[in-house]
């Protein structure tokens, strides 16, 4: 079975059918992209997968476990991590602390042992810090480690958010518009980074507007329009798909 399997997923917002019977699968080790015009339901789809929104019907299997109906923190615990379109970092904490939080599910010191500062938590805390530094380093933002997050540039914040998501050691990483707000150099850099992450064995599902990035890095593309899946294919086939061209560029008659 595929790593992530979505079957007949539906979600309504009042009268709006935001996600309409969408089904697709993500095989382990691939980079799969979800594209579509604004309002196609891409972010809703992500929120359904990550458990932020309940689905009206349909099923989502992750690693052969049915995950719809579960809470986001439970899904995260199964090895699914994500980033946000409009970066969601923890303000009032340093970059390092943000990434250290990514180690939350990989560590276990509890309330009482934390309050009593029991010695057995010390090596764990040290390891958390060390791992977090490694991920900051991997993303090239290690020199911002001690800086409070609001004082970082947009690009650096994106790097920290990536590092935080990777620190959970996910098997599947959801990237919601990783190139939003970045210039072409930074976008190319993000592209290289995503391929690098994939090389470490992480499967990636991304939503993206930047076509050059999507065509460059993805193995397969799903196209959504008004909540419906209208195509699922290899990048070079998607480029030639008439339906896709029509929804992006409009009909010749119009």
């Amino acid at each position: 079975m595929a790593l992530l399997e979505i079957q007949n997923l539906n979600r309504y917002f009042g009268g709006l059918h935001a996600v309409n019977s969408v089904s697709f699968a993500v095989e382990p080790g691939m980079i799969k992209a979800v594209i579509g015009p604004n309002g196609a339901g891409k972010t809703t789809l992500f929120n359904l997968i990550a458990g932020n929104l309940p689905a009206n019907s349909g099923t989502i299997y992750f690693n052969n476990t049915r995950i719809n109906g579960r809470k986001p923190y439970q899904i995260a615990g199964l090895g699914l991590s994500r980033t946000y379109q409009n970066i969601k970092l923890f303000h009032g904490m340093t970059a390092l602390e943000n990434v250290m939080l990514g180690r939350h599910i990989r560590s276990k010191a509890g309330f009482i042992s934390g309050m009593l500062n029991l010695p057995w938590t010390w090596p764990e805390e040290k390891l958390i810090k060390q791992k977090a530094m490694e991920y900051l380093d991997l993303l090239g933002v290690a020199d911002c480690a001690e800086v409070e997050i609001s004082n970082l540039s947009f690009g650096q914040q994106r790097g920290v958010e990536f590092a935080r998501a990777l620190a959970t050691e996910p098997t599947l990483l959801l990237l919601d518009e990783p190139a939003a707000g970045l210039n072409i150099y930074e976008t190319a850099e993000i592209g290289r980074l995503i391929t690098k992450i994939r090389a470490t064995g992480v499967t990636i599902l991304l939503v993206e507007h930047d076509m050059s990035l999507v065509m460059d890095i993805s193995d397969e593309i799903v196209v959504l329009s008004f909540g419906e899946k209208i195509a699922e294919d290899l990048p070079h086939n998607i480029q030639k798909n008439e339906e896709v061209i029509r929804i992006y560029l409009g009909d010749e008659d119009n």
Binding site: H91, G92, M93, L101, G102, T121
Partner: protein
């Protein structure tokens, strides 16, 4: 090194506590110790609330309620005379296992009451259970709604204290005996125990500060702060946000209840004003003045403002002063007037000094 940095201010606090006592001893102003003792207990409530508000990002306008639950239950259990029920099953059983003690009222009447230790444990656990019960549903709310719900809880406790004959109605509970923690160590308002009680109260503050400092620097503390920073993202990173919010709510309620128990034994009684909404507002105001996510700020402001209030500096305008403080802080200094962590301040100053010195040295060379 980190641990060293964390505990140095605690040692400093200990030194300040001892030196204040010594100063009052030699200047014969030890009457101040009474207010300092009370302020210390109130500060335990404040720092607990500080962790809930500043780190967990949840507001509570009901903490005077938890304080009152602790105080009133300890007061009732240690004053209610069970002598008439001595032979009844449960009372006899409690007596047999040593949870009851004999005593004498002010008028020489023989009393059979619950042992202060048992009363304390019951009071604090009850506050914890109530916090668990209301925290579950209430903490699903956010912002104003959470404030309103906790405010409602506070009002309920206040009205119960005011209306119930068991709790002495408007008079509250008096003649609460001392609380013998250990042989020779008793929480009571008697003149001879003044210095001892000052140290008991401050010992409690120091233990509370140590526990909370450890907590906020631990894995769980980081998770709490992340909830404050971005709850949705914290959840997506695998933090069970609702459970952590509930834990910290219960913890702060336990702190408040414990302080309530000790204050009641120290004062020899408790009245409904301790459960009042204005008390809750006062605790929130003090946390705000101290700078929300700053245990030391909350502690310092907790001591200073409570001390001034207890000395009667604000006169009849006591509650008004705290209301005004809250408004002014929210308007002009939402991060508190002690925004700068004194330790960091000293560090940055010393770093600056070192840098200057280095520059001077390099010029000389």
């Amino acid at each position: 090194m980190d641990l060293f940095k964390r505990y140095i201010p605690v040692l400093f606090l200990l030194a300040v506590v001892v030196s204040i006592q010594l100063v009052t001893h030699f200047t014969e102003t030890s009457f101040y110790l009474t207010q300092l003792t009370m302020s210390a207990y109130y500060s335990v409530v404040v720092i607990g609330l500080c962790v809930l508000m500043g780190y967990g990002g949840q507001i509570s306008l009901g903490h005077a309620g938890f304080f009152a639950i602790g105080g009133y239950l300890a007061g009732v259990l240690t004053t209610h005379n069970l002598l008439a029920f001595k032979d009844y099953g449960i009372v006899a059983f409690l007596n047999k296992i040593g949870l009851l003690i004999d005593g004498q009222s002010l008028y020489g009447e023989t009393l059979l009451t619950v042992h202060p230790w048992a009363a304390c444990i019951v009071a604090v656990l009850t506050a914890g259970v109530i916090a668990l019960a209301i925290g579950g549903p209430v903490l699903k709310l956010k912002g104003h709604y959470l404030a309103m719900a906790t405010l409602g809880f506070g009002i309920i406790i206040f009205r119960i204290a005011l209306a119930s004959p068991y709790f002495g109605e408007a008079d509250g509970i008096s003649e609460v005996p001392g609380f013998k923690l250990l042989p020779g160590i008793e929480v009571s308002g008697s003149f001879g125990d003044r210095v001892l009680n000052y140290y008991i109260a401050w010992g409690m503050v120091i233990i509370a500060v140590l526990l909370l400092l450890n907590l906020i620097h631990s894995r769980v503390g980081r998770a709490l702060r992340s909830i404050h920073g971005a709850e949705e993202a914290a959840n997506a990173m695998g933090v069970n946000t609702s459970r952590y919010k509930l834990y910290i709510f219960i913890l702060s309620a336990l702190f408040a209840a414990l302080a309530g128990v000790f204050v009641t034994h120290y004062n020899g009684g408790i009245g409904p004003s301790e459960a009042g909404v204005m008390k809750s507002v006062r605790y929130v105001a003090i946390v705000a003045v101290g700078g929300m996510a700053n245990i030391w700020g909350a502690l310092i402001m907790g001591i200073v403002l409570n001390f001034l209030s207890l000395r009667g500096v604000f006169g009849s305008y006591d509650d008004a002063v705290f209301g005004v403080i809250l408004v002014i802080i929210m308007l002009f200094a939402p991060e508190g007037i002690l925004k700068i962590n004194p330790w960091q301040r000293i560090k940055s100053l010393s770093a600056l000094f070192m840098k200057q010195k280095e520059e001077e040295d390099s010029v000389e060379n």
